[in-house]
């Protein structure tokens, strides 16, 4: 169904990318949501289906070695979503629309005609590499925006700090009350 709809939209990735630009990211996101029967992008709250897409991207983008914090357990998704809600409302809608586009993009860009969240980790990685290295500037721009949010979500988790030798609590220049708050965070307590 999605495949047929996208074929009607354009024959090549370039053509479809141009259509997305012409229609505008937000309207494209709304269209995809309607097609999938999901709630549309909206400011201040990232709908669960869009969160799933973000988490699926985070899992491969932050798929690190053993001994590093687990994306699903360290609160990275919540932090990433929280980070986006500080942006202007129209930017939030654009970012969520980007997630909606990412969900259906494998039908156009491969490596398999499936939704992004249904791809294997390896295929998701290949697909995201396509965005990162794309000749289409808007696609690379979109990847940059996604990466900023993903990394901000994951690498701000105190659980992720120890693997890179980083700590706020042990920084002698940090005063109270921040020092104690960070000590608690780095010991795994929720103080926020």
């Amino acid at each position: 169904m999605i495949g047929i709809w996208l074929k009607r939209w354009g024959r090549s990735p370039e053509e479809i990318s141009q259509k997305v630009q012409a229609l505008g990211l937000i309207r494209t996101g709304q269209l995809i949501s309607r097609l999938l029967g999901k709630s549309p992008p909206q400011a201040r709250e990232v709908a669960p289906w869009l969160q799933n897409i973000l988490e699926a991207a985070m899992e491969v983008m932050c798929a690190y070695d053993e001994g590093m914090a687990d994306v699903a357990e360290c609160g990275a998704l919540e932090a990433a979503c929280g980070f986006t809600t500080g942006m202007p409302h129209s930017t939030q809608e654009e970012f969520q629309s980007l997630l909606a586009v990412l969900e259906v993009a494998p039908y156009v860009f491969g490596p398999r005609r499936k939704r992004f969240t249904e791809l294997s980790s390896r295929d998701r990685e290949v697909h995201l590499q396509g965005w990162e290295r794309s000749m289409l500037a808007p696609r690379r721009g979109a990847f940059g925006a996604l990466k900023s949010v993903v990394m901000m979500g994951y690498w701000t988790r105190p659980e992720a700090f120890s693997s890179i030798g980083y700590s706020v609590a042990s920084n002698p220049g940090v005063p109270e009350p921040q020092q104690s708050q960070w000590k608690a965070r780095e010991e795994g307590h929720n103080v926020d």
Binding site: D65, M87, H89, R133, P138, W155, T156, G165, G173, P175
Partner: protein, 516 residues
């Protein structure tokens, strides 16, 4: 941020807390935006006894509220929740929001305008750039406690740059800063938890309030109101600090309006307001000092996040002359892990392995003293559209910066240098990056960051080729004055805060001398 009702210094109110709808106020002078330029004008006018009201889009933050959480402080302290970028998204544009503007989170480097730039501006028709400018620089530096960075404030990341340039015989050295109560925490870009900065908030805006100024925060000015070619006030909307949603409308009647909303914000407000612009100049000539990060991996720990973030520079490749073939300012730089991970190339396990090197990484930013320019146009709410793409000449400067930053890192003992190009270059010695040229680069390659927007409403004596006169008064609209980074007729090739503070002082003095 806390949701509890809070109190502010006397004279400061939050627009969202005012009961009346619409909010109506009056003043003799309204200052739009309270960063380096606006803070100085507010201060100097208040001390001169003028009825002055500052209107700031962002909030007011105390040192206790600086939680040092990147994912929370960046959206609170930066315009567009730290998502601002050029329209093609290839250059991230970081600008501050809140009482103090970009001086809340800047890294406090202080330099006067280079003499070559002063001469260039004087030739372009800017008046009053002789000894009086030097006197203003001196007074501003004294007011802001500017002094040479002491030895014990040079952290390991900056030592790398100093060591590298010394061994290569390159020009450069230690800089000056405006800090006093600093405890070398390294969190400057997320807001100081120690009130260590002698910034616009601490040195100008809080003292201005004590001297009778008023400040309305969480209030975004959308339009300068004007009738029969004279300014009559400003209008805008309260902004909910929790949700970012627009609140009650406000209108402030005033015969003088000072635009100090930065080189992007002021032009955006002026264009939205239909300020007369017969030669279509407003918003043009935007300079950014676009910069790229180069990272070196060392055997010893660097822990660049600890200590004062920036204290050293290399000026070997910074030529201010017209048509110069070398225009790169190299300065040390560091960020905390959330932002750093965004700058490290790639993703997945290879990226994770690179993050594992984080404690051993030293970084240099190669910033271009840009001769080309872009333009800014207003967007919805606080959004601005920044049209700026690096052309071949500027990309050649980026390439020069990448090469020379790598050379300095190797000279300082790096065992590896990471260039965030696409694909990333991870070099074991200089020969692997020595050939990098403009042809290897392009949009997103490398990702660029800009923290110094300038020009867009520049000074000059000819109304056909400049937007305001040498002291910030608009050539065509009576009562409109500009006092921020917009005033610069060109890029300056170095840290802009001291020149902007100083221009703010000149503008305020001229207003008083001209009877406002």
């Amino acid at each position: 941020m806390s949701t509890e009702p809070r109190s502010y210094p006397e004279g400061m109110t939050a627009a969202s807390s005012r009961a009346e709808v619409p909010i109506r106020m009056k003043a003799d002078v309204v200052v739009v935006g309270l960063g380096a330029g606006g803070g100085m004008v507010l201060h100097d006018l208040a001390l001169a006894g003028v009825d002055v009201l500052g209107v700031e889009m962002g909030g007011h933050f105390t040192p206790e509220e600086m939680t040092l959480q990147e994912e929370k402080m960046l959206p609170s302290l930066f315009c567009e929740g730290a998502s601002r970028a050029t329209v093609d998204m290839a250059i991230k544009v970081m600008q501050g929001k809140g009482v103090g503007g970009s001086t809340i989170h800047n890294t406090n480097l202080c330099k006067r305008l280079p003499q070559a730039i002063v001469t260039k501006w004087a030739r372009a028709g800017v008046e009053g750039l002789g000894p009086e400018l030097e006197r203003d620089f001196e007074a501003v530096e004294k007011l802001l406690n500017v002094h040479r960075i002491p030895d014990d404030r040079v952290n390991a990341n900056n030592e790398v740059l100093l060591r590298g340039i010394e061994s290569l015989g390159y020009e450069g050295g230690r800089l000056a800063y405006n800090r006093k109560l600093c405890k070398a925490s390294g969190f400057c870009e997320l807001g100081c938890p120690n009130d260590g900065k002698e910034n616009a908030t601490r040195r100008l805006i809080l003292p201005a309030l004590k001297n009778g100024a008023r400040v309305l925060i969480e209030a975004r000015v959308d339009r300068v109101l004007h009738e029969a070619n004279e300014v009559v006030g400003v209008a805008g909307r309260a902004v909910d600090p929790e949700t970012g949603a627009d609140g009650a409308p406000f209108e402030i009647r005033a015969p003088r309006v000072v635009l100090s909303a930065s080189a992007t914000g002021s032009a955006a407000v002026a264009i939205k307001s239909g300020v007369p612009d017969p030669y279509a100049l407003i918003g043009e000539r935007l300079h950014l000092h676009p910069g790229a990060f180069v990272m070196g991996v060392f055997d010893e720990p660097i822990e660049g996040w600890l200590g004062v973030p920036q204290s050293a520079e290399c000026t070997e490749f910074l030529d201010y002359s017209e048509g110069a073939s070398q225009r790169v300012w190299l300065v040390s730089g560091f960020t905390h892990p959330g932002a750093a991970a965004g700058l490290m190339p790639g993703f997945g396990p290879a990226h994770g392995a690179m993050m594992g090197l984080f404690p051993h990484v030293a970084a240099i930013i190669a910033m271009v003293h840009d001769h080309q320019s872009g333009r800014v146009r207003p967007g919805e709410g606080e959004r601005v559209h920044i049209h700026y793409q690096l052309d071949a000449d500027e990309l050649a400067q980026v390439a020069l910066g990448l090469r020379e930053a790598a050379r300095i890192l190797f000279a300082a003992g790096a065992r590896q240098v990471i260039l965030p190009t696409s694909p990333p270059r991870i070099a074991e010695d200089m020969s692997e990056v020595a050939e990098i040229s403009a042809g290897d680069l392009g949009p997103f390659n490398p990702p660029m960051v800009a923290v110094h927007p300038m020009s867009t409403m520049w000074m000059g004596s000819d109304p056909k080729t400049s937007v305001v006169d040498s002291f910030g008064a608009h050539h065509h609209l009576k009562g409109l004055v500009v006092a921020d980074g917009s005033l610069f007729p060109s890029s300056i090739g170095g840290p802009p805060q001291i020149p902007i503070y100083t221009m703010g002082r000149r503008v305020a003095r001229a207003m008083v001398e001209r009877g406002l």
